[in-house]
């Protein structure tokens, strides 16, 4: 029902300058979403390039670059990937998709939405600008543990101006995401279409809702920690965090992880939501156990606030049994999700296009991230594995094959909705397989290196048997994965202009409301909405299932076309 296709603005009489001005001043959630995704993608490329530098240094024993350069590389790789790629790219998709999924015209506060975007860009550029200054960018690790991040007496290698730019940059990013989080909360609670109860919300919207709660509750704690550290470095002389001048270094760790553990879920919940959209669509089935999935998402959100100290098991400053118990608990809702995804595929009709490949790849590889997390939850085992490459492998299986695979699935899934054209499937397959093979080549050897005792964040390593080979496999894998990323980049640019056209509103036979409008949607999104009687109103309407699909447990009729 491409009723509005003709009204989609495709250009302006004013020419390029007008188009540019339109994008720079827009408050349209779709344009803001696209700008978020594009900006985050550019940052992501920079972060990926830095990881190649890191992997190149580790290709053999002996140092290639100076340790100071290397320390900047891994610090900024992590900072960029977490703060400037995964989080904002998920925010971008949420910006684009959530108002469409709930049948709204726009976000609740469109101007604040635009403000968030520009503050985010400001913060990111501020953080990266440090490379241009004397002393370079932050080099204290993305965790910035004082006193290594301080310039006070406790640290004989005082962190320079890059550290201050990092702190101010992250504060700015925190402001942007807090404002964005509040915007999502109000939008999701107040602007849903008639008939869309909480338990009829699409799963992606649910994960964005829980994520928004985490952002709003946890980010202020990080902001306070950042401000205290900034003060420590600029006048307060270390009274907060540097023991040499009366502070407590472990206080930073408590504050930092009180934000940064929920932040892991801020990064992984939206991709989980994406997978929970993509898997059902290409299995042609509803998500198995929708309510259980919602409960698991909310449960993970709640638990994420009481597990922070599991990053600090070896500090000697943690009440270990409590945090061991809470960390083990978080495995239960995560396991429920795994089984629900598999049951969704069960008896389905699975179509393996690129979006589906990335979604199934997510499930396969996130499993490894989850399982390796159990090793760290068992505190004595964590005593052996903490701060080794086992942690590096674990967190990358969660974030680089988990969150990033979810983001790629979202790209292939929603691209036709955003641009009215498909991403090229052939290139997509190459992209997927180079990512799937490349990431496993990087992170599987890292798990083994960690078991063998290789510490993380070192620019040179002992030539113990096997270490060089494992590192070489990882380095080759990094380049294989990067080839995939470059192919993806080419695919995006190419497909925006010359991709196969998507004439339909709903090319995937999907179920949620963003597929009830044109591709791309017009300004203000909808001219009509279908009746919402389940979490898949569009699918119900097309297949005549509306009366049956409202709750689980009922057995709907089997239809075939």
């Amino acid at each position: 029902m491409a009723t509005l296709a003709g009204t989609v603005p495709t250009g302006y009489a004013g020419g390029r300058a007008q188009v540019l001005l339109d994008w720079l001043t827009t408050v349209d959630h779709k344009k803001i979403g696209i700008m978020y995704v594009v900006a985050a993608g550019v940052f992501g490329l920079v972060g990926g390039a830095l990881s190649l530098v890191v992997r190149t240094e580790l290709i053999e024993t002996g140092a290639i670059m100076g340790a100071d350069t290397y320390n900047q590389m891994f610090t900024m790789h992590a900072s960029i990937m977490l703060f400037l790629f995964i989080m904002p790219v998920a925010t971008g998709f949420a910006n684009y998709v959530v108002p469409l999924q709930i049948g709204a015209l726009d976000m609740a506060f469109p101007r604040i939405n635009a403000l968030s975007l520009w503050i985010f860009l400001f913060g990111g550029i501020l953080m990266l600008s440090a490379f241009a200054f004397d002393g370079g960018a932050a080099a204290a690790g993305w965790t910035a543990y004082p006193p290594i991040s301080s310039n006070t007496a406790g640290n004989i290698q005082p962190a320079g101006v890059g550290m201050d730019l990092w702190l101010v940059g992250v504060i700015a990013l925190g402001v942007a995401s807090t404002a964005g989080g509040l915007n999502f909360l109000v939008t999701i609670f107040k602007m849903r279409a008639p008939g869309m109860t909480m338990f009829r919300m699409p799963m992606f919207t649910w994960t964005v809702l829980v994520t928004a709660f985490l952002v709003v509750l946890a980010t202020p704690v990080l902001a306070s920690a950042l401000i205290l550290l900034f003060a420590d470095r600029n006048g307060a002389g270390g009274v907060f965090f540097d023991p040499a001048t009366g502070g407590q270094s472990i206080l930073w760790q408590n504050l930092f992880w009180f934000y940064s553990h929920p932040a892991v879920y801020i990064m992984i919940l939206p991709p989980m939501g994406i997978v929970s959209e993509v898997l059902p669509v290409f299995s042609r089935k509803p998500l198995f156990g929708y309510r259980a999935f919602v409960m698991a998402t909310v449960g993970i959100g709640l638990l994420s606030f009481i597990v922070w100290a599991h990053h600090m098991f070896t500090t000697g400053g943690v009440f270990l049994p409590f945090f061991m118990a809470s960390t083990f608990l978080i495995g239960i809702p995560t396991g429920v999700k795994m089984f629900n995804w598999m049951a969704t595929m069960h008896k389905g009709s699975l179509h393996f296009n690129t979006a589906m490949l990335f979604a199934v790849g997510f499930v396969m590889l996130f499993l490894i991230g989850g399982i390796t997390g159990v090793f760290h939850a068992a505190v004595p085992v964590d005593f052996a594995l903490h701060d080794t490459y086992f942690v590096v492998g674990h967190l990358h299986y969660v974030l680089a094959t988990g969150a990033a695979f979810g983001i790629f699935a979202a790209s292939y899934f929603w691209f036709p909705k955003m641009f009215g054209r498909f991403l090229n499937e052939g290139l997509g397959k190459i992209h997927f397989w180079s990512m799937f093979i490349g990431t496993n080549m990087i992170f599987w050897p890292q798990l083994m290196l960690g078991l063998d005792g290789m510490p993380r964040r070192i620019n040179d390593y002992a030539d113990n048997p096997g270490w060089e080979l494992m590192n070489q496999i990882a380095t080759v894998g990094a380049f294989v994965a990067m080839v995939g990323a470059v192919i993806f980049l080419f695919n995006v640019v190419h497909s925006i202009y010359w991709g196969e056209k998507c004439e339909e509103d709903n090319p995937w036979d999907a179920g949620t409301l963003e597929w009830a409008t044109t591709s791309p949607p017009p300004v203000y999104n909808f001219d009509r909405l279908p009746r919402v009687r389940s979490e898949r109103p569009v699918f119900d309407e097309r297949h005549g299932l509306g009366a049956y699909a409202s709750s689980e447990g009922e057995s709907p009729p089997q239809t075939s076309s």
């Binding site: 089935k285 118990a325 399982i371 005593f383 070192i458 699909a549």
Partner: protein, 413 residues
């Protein structure tokens, strides 16, 4: 988008299977090459406990991994799209959902209980009456220093430094004392036995309180209790023997020597940023936090040389902040330590010029302590490690490692 023809679907499926095989082969070859599904063999009792717990977690995890991954691949092949018919629209099933909530809960509960028991065991301090060896581990950017108490039930000595940079006053419970302040000795628990050179002999105190009435102002008395013997070989080449091959390797990492079969208490602290005391074959690490001293209890079970390294990022030379563990049988250890603390041969004479000035505060301290005797002064330079203790970090001289350092490990590594 139009649905592709069944033939194309079949083709795609074959491609997918082929690619899965490729990935599987890659993973397999990586696995075989490293053969590292397990941590190294433990050389301590606590490490063995941890390794056994690791094995339990590993086999549970491996079972879950194989079942779930095989399940996903089976689903992907079995239910691939063959036609356009709509599959049954199944929304859920209470029974199986309860089942797969309960089963992981049970697994997690079992893991928690077992982990808790192991944790309780390895973290518990040994009995008060069990003889322990106390070794102070001091980390700094970028070096390790190890200090030994003299053998059990003997007196321990506190060193009075004449080094103006040595501004830290430390006692065995880890309290850092401020310089330029006056402290009174706790005569209940500390007995000053004698003063040798710049070393004040005191009995190990229960409370570990220390010392000093400060007489004049320009002469500062600084004392550590029970930690005076430093073993820090950094910068000096030391021969080590690989017990498996018998090869002699020259290495220049600091060595901490530990006894086999006797509980060691490592008192771990840091002089600057956070470090982490980690030897892979202990399967154990504890952060060296500035401003506090934390205890790590270990009973080493195997003699040999083991590699150790700072595990917490600490700046420029983090990768080269190495140490070695030398585990000696108890009798050899005792002999080694006795040789370390034995008075040096009296051949050398290079007593610092200000030794005379030092006498006054020493007198005061001794009087306050109710102890009597001031021994003959000996040459401070002869005491091992004196020059390193508590001194300022020496950034210019550190590290002294050549670029291609090697530190071969014993045994399985």
């Amino acid at each position: 988008m139009p649905m592709p023809s069944p033939r194309r679907i079949r083709l795609r499926w074959r491609i997918a299977v082929a690619a899965s095989l490729v990935t599987g082969l890659l993973l397999l070859s990586a696995g075989v090459a490293g053969a590292q599904a397990f941590p190294p063999e433990a050389v301590s009792e606590e490490g063995s406990d941890i390794r056994n717990l690791y094995l339990l977690v590993f086999f549970l995890a491996a079972a879950v991994f194989v079942v779930v991954e095989a399940g996903i691949i089976w689903l992907a092949i079995k239910y691939r799209r063959r036609d356009d018919s709509l599959p049954p629209q199944i929304h859920g099933h209470r029974g199986v959902e309860v089942l797969w909530t309960v089963i992981p809960s049970i697994i997690v509960l079992v893991l928690f209980i077992v982990s808790f028991v192991v944790l309780d065991h390895i973290e518990s301090a040994p009995s008060k009456y069990e003889p322990v060896e106390v070794i102070d581990v001091t980390a700094q950017q970028w070096a390790w220093s190890f200090y030994y108490a003299t053998p059990m039930d003997a007196t321990t000595r506190a060193r009075i430094s004449d080094d103006p940079a040595d501004v830290r006053l430390r006692v065995s419970d880890g309290t850092l004392f401020e310089p330029f302040k006056t402290y009174r000795i706790d005569v209940e628990h500390i007995r000053v036995d004698s003063i040798e050179g710049n070393t004040l002999m005191v009995a190990r105190g229960v409370n570990g309180t220390v010392v000093q009435d400060h007489p004049a102002g320009e002469e500062i008395l600084r004392i550590t209790n029970g930690t005076e013997v430093s073993q820090d070989d950094r910068g000096e080449l030391t021969d080590s023997i690989d017990p498996s091959s018998g090869a002699v390797t020259t290495m220049n990492t600091p060595i901490v020597t530990v006894p086999v079969g006797k509980t060691v208490r490592f008192n771990i602290s840091s002089l600057d940023v956070i470090h982490s005391f980690y030897a892979p074959q202990f399967l154990y690490k504890l952060d060296a936090m500035p401003g506090r001293t934390q205890a790590l209890w270990l009973k080493v079970t195997d003699a040999g040389f083991f590699q150790g390294q700072c595990a917490e990022f600490c700046g420029r030379e983090h990768a080269r902040m190495l140490f070695s563990v030398r585990a000696l049988p108890l009798d050899e250890y005792d002999a080694w330590l006795a040789a370390l603390v034995a008075p040096p041969p009296p051949a050398e004479e290079a007593a610092p010029a200000d030794d005379a000035g030092e006498a006054a505060p020493e007198d005061d301290a001794a009087d306050d302590a109710g102890a009597a005797e001031i021994g003959a002064e000996t040459d401070p330079a002869a005491e091992p490690g004196t020059s390193r203790y508590g001194g300022p970090p020496a950034p210019a001289g550190l590290p002294t490692q050549p670029a291609g350092w090697t530190a071969p490990r014993a045994g399985a590594l």
